[in-house]
């Protein structure tokens, strides 16, 4: 297998607070191969965004990477000084956030924001950067790009703005895109368009994607592999087909039951009884045990690590039993 674009090993993200340290991401490991789309799902607060922020080095203080390592194309990036990391952001790792309405600075023309990003990273003249910006706007499907480039964000609809954000993320040909719920804030009718566009462009530009979403349907259509997160840890990770057809972790199975039909895409993943524990109250043993329909004695004492289960890895004692016979 080719060297992974992104490799995260035993990542731990902590928030020191007055009442003790909160562990938002705990011992998370995964990798993304060139051109691969890794989906990341899980309930709100599972640590998906924290993982993404840690990778681009933009955890909001006091949050910090407390342990583990992050490698981009084999190069360790979690300990880079701010100035070095800045050169990677936008250049090698592009980011797309949830809300296109607030991702763009309202006081700058979208062209200025594109040109500024391009000039920050690539050796170009202003005119070349502008031409590139127009090309990108065309690529993301903005009609009349030559004129629209001089418009301000408020002159675009939400879907169009998210296209601009995608153009911004792609403008320096990054090797990895981190898309954190890129469609959650959008109208249901255009979510599919944006996801399709994102997938197509990343394939064309040969860049890998870490796609954070609540939507199992999107994962099924878009991702190559999927990581299911629960309470700061990965519950299950594996090829999408395996995970969807034969989930090994009871939590994943719960999520599958929660795949909304097209008409109710907005519905959140709430079909599993109970709520995810707060970070300061994660139970002993398996974090999922209070809600797990298949819980047994061992689950309340020992914490399961990721174990091989079919084509994927699952952090569940039941899955281990099933595999080992």
């Amino acid at each position: 297998m080719a060297e992974p674009v992104l490799e995260v090993k035993n990542l731990r993200v902590e928030f020191p607070t007055r009442r003790g340290t909160l562990v938002a991401v705990d011992d998370v490991s995964f990798s993304i191969a060139p051109g691969e789309v890794l989906g990341v799902v899980g309930e709100s607060g599972a640590g998906k965004s924290m993982t993404g922020s840690a990778v681009i080095g933009l955890l909001t203080p006091p949050g910090r990477v407390a342990a583990g390592e992050i490698r981009l194309m084999g190069r360790r990036i979690d300990k880079l000084p701010y100035g070095e990391m800045r050169k990677i952001r936008g250049r090698q790792i592009g980011a797309i956030f949830q809300d296109p309405l607030t991702s763009l600075n309202p006081l700058y023309r979208i062209g200025d924001q594109l040109v500024e990003t391009i000039l920050t990273h690539l050796p170009m003249t202003k005119a070349e950067a502008r031409a590139r910006a127009i090309g990108l706007l065309k690529e993301v499907g903005i009609p009349g790009a030559e004129d629209r480039i001089d418009h301000y964000p408020h002159q675009f609809s939400g879907g169009m703005r998210q296209r601009v954000v995608i153009a911004l993320a792609l403008c320096c040909n990054p090797t990895l895109i981190i898309a954190d719920e890129p469609t959650t804030a959008l109208d249901v009718s255009i979510q599919a368009q944006i996801i399709t566009l994102l997938k197509r462009l990343c394939a064309e530009h040969g860049c890998s994607v870490m796609l954070v979403t609540h939507d199992m349907g999107v994962i099924a259509e878009t991702a190559d592999r999927v990581a299911v997160m629960y309470a700061g840890r990965i519950a299950e990770i594996g090829p999408v087909r395996d995970v969807i057809k034969h989930a090994h972790h009871p939590y994943t199975r719960g999520l599958m039951g929660a795949i909304p039909t097209i008409s109710e895409r907005e519905g959140r993943l709430n079909q599993i009884d109970g709520a995810m524990p707060r970070l300061n109250a994660i139970p002993r043993g398996c974090a999922f045990n209070p809600r797990c329909p298949e819980v047994f004695d061992r689950c309340r004492v020992d914490r399961p690590d990721l174990m091989r289960a079919g084509g994927s890895l699952a952090a569940c004692w039941k899955a281990e039993e099933a595999v080992n016979g």
Partner: protein, 326 residues
């Protein structure tokens, strides 16, 4: 946008008419202008004749119209105290006040912006804490105290700067300026700091609060995620977004500075319109007082108008209508 400007202009005119009316009422009904102009021994007939000549017997609306008409030509009547035309008295003293206010406002804006940006960016540094403590003192000390303290330290104890007057001034046309002489600048420093200190601390706190707010927004996070330099993020993206509220407050405060100049001018014997106003209060010199009122009103209205126009310059959302749905 043109419609907006016209509407604002119209509103400004209304406001000015209201101010003029208050001033007119003061002029005509607080005390008797005829009494103030003639001696004790003037006969009733003479008084009545003067009344008729001054048009004081005409109906109110006509008198008000005449008052406004005169005011538009810069004719505000004669001072009760010196019998000089009030318009000229004010015009002579206006440069002193405007120069003082301008320097005070510039000082407040520049220092306030710098301290605000610094304390917003480096929230926890010791220098930020020092600035914030100083600004707290600046907000809570009354200006005359600040002035007296500054005089004590820099004029009396150290003897570096003068404690009163404008220093040497140069006359250019009808305008006297202290900007062209060293002693003029020296004389400006203490009063300008005194006058601008409160506004400076206000701007510091405002800019800091706005910076903290803006730095939390998604577009700042996204700007960082695009790998922009700190300078571009902080001074390009963040600072520009704090400007709208800063412009509002600074504009309003500039008006306040000119109005509050009364106190500073008194403390420093600064020969401006504030000092003139105080003197006219002692003498119940109604024409001067009412003219001062109109002047301050006019300055506020003009500043407000400029502030509104600046919004347009800064914020494209006001300048250009939205093209897409929200």
């Amino acid at each position: 946008m043109l419609a907006f400007i016209l509407r604002r202009l119209f509103q400004s005119v209304i406001v000015m008419l209201a101010v003029a009316f208050v001033s007119f009422v003061m002029f005509n009904f607080v005390g008797d202008p005829v009494n103030a102009m003639v001696g004790q021994d003037t006969t009733m007939q003479d008084r009545e004749a003067l009344r008729e000549k001054l048009g004081l017997n005409d109906p109110m609306p006509i008198r008000f119209a005449r008052f406004v008409g005169n005011a538009l030509q810069g004719n505000f009547g004669l001072s009760y105290r010196t019998a000089e035309p009030v318009g000229r008295m004010i015009a002579e003293r206006l440069p002193a006040t405007l120069e003082l206010s301008l320097v005070a406002a510039t000082f407040a804006l520049i220092v306030g912006l710098m301290m605000g940006v610094y304390t917003g960016l480096y929230r926890n540094s010791w220098l930020s804490r020092l600035f914030m403590t100083l600004s707290l003192i600046g907000v809570s000390l009354p200006p005359f105290m600040v002035g007296i303290l500054l005089i004590l330290v820099f004029a009396v104890l150290l003897g570096w700067l003068p404690s009163f007057g404008r220093g040497d001034v140069v006359k250019i046309g009808g305008w006297t300026t202290g900007f062209l002489t060293v002693s003029g600048w020296k004389a400006l420093i203490l009063p300008a700091v005194t006058l601008g200190l409160f506004q400076m601390t206000l701007i510091t706190r405002l800019v800091r609060a706005e910076m903290l707010e803006v730095l939390r927004t998604d577009y700042i996070k996204f700007a960082r995620a695009r790998g922009l330099s700190n300078r571009a993020v902080n001074f390009g993206h963040a600072l520009k977004n704090t400007l709208v509220p800063v412009i509002t407050i600074t504009g309003l405060q500039l008006g306040a500075i000119i109005a509050f100049a009364i106190i500073t001018e008194t403390v420093f014997s600064w020969p401006g319109i504030g000092l003139l106003f105080i003197q006219s209060v002692y003498f119940a010199d109604i024409p001067v007082m009412s003219t001062y009122l109109v002047m301050i009103g006019l300055i506020f209205v003009i500043i407000n108008l400029i502030v509104d126009l600046l919004y347009f310059a800064v914020d494209p959302r006001l300048r250009i209508g939205g093209g897409g749905g929200h």
